[in-house]
Amino acid sequence: MESINVANATKAFHWPGRTYDATSLEGQALLGTPNESGVAFMLYQHKHDLEHKAIKKVTAFERDCELMLLFYIVDVDPHARAEISRDAANFILAGI
């Protein structure tokens, strides 16, 4: 979060903080952190129980000098599912 703030010349904010779309670079950088990746793991490893869901956006805010992260989770649109499958297929083919 500190890196993102330095890169974007922003500061940590109290609630309502700053919201990043999961498709943005900042959102994906947050998604790759140890704290946030656990949420992604839960969603993609438990599709049978939770149905197909994904993180839509992340709100980062500060409280008592501690970073808080709020994740918004939504149902995955079937069209988006097909789209990502094509992308993943490209990746698999190119990886052979």
Partner: protein, 234 residues
Amino acid sequence: MLFTHSETAPLVYPRCSWLLPGASKQTPHSSQSTTTKTNLRALYAMLATSAPAAQMGTFRERLEACLGNYKVKELEKALIRGQKLHQLMFANDQMAAQMSIPPRRTIASAFRHEEAILANGYNGAAAECEDPELLGILSDILRQDSVDLSIFGGTYSIEHELLMPAHEVGSDYYPEATAKFSQVINPIGGIIIACQNMSPAGANREAERPLRHGFSSKAATRFHCIKPAIRAAP
């Protein structure tokens, strides 16, 4: 602390591209060095708003000057990992399994039932987690976000505490490792609060000890764990 909040509105997902315009047409996993370069471009693009184009080549150096080389590398690693996780979330199970390295039949977690948890070292002792102050804070936050939620109704808490005592394997000494996970769940409101997510690596960092072991399958069987306690709030 982490909060998750579910929404019912469907997400319209833009075409997922690992590569920014002008970047190499390599796929993300074809080579680690290409991936790093690609994400460096992405990182530089993110920085473009804060510096003139003529200085694009020096972004990494400038970022390093502010954050240090270690943190820039951490940011790059987080970007690579975040992009992969983002794809995994949107892919179906079969496709996500193919994307894993090595490819698998399914990406679904093996920890779906209590038996699986018990088979990995949980000893059955119960623990409880209560943090009314935290619940109050969350309730206030969600009200500000116009979320109609009765956080105190139907709320469950769950806590895992893991401790692996110091031990020796052959000539190797392994210091004590601890981990603590504490979550509060409100299924009706669609809320999960991760009050505490202290992994063994994190606990060792906090104690300024080098991590000598993690959650390998062998080590996990020797962990003395507290069974998760599920408690309905009044």
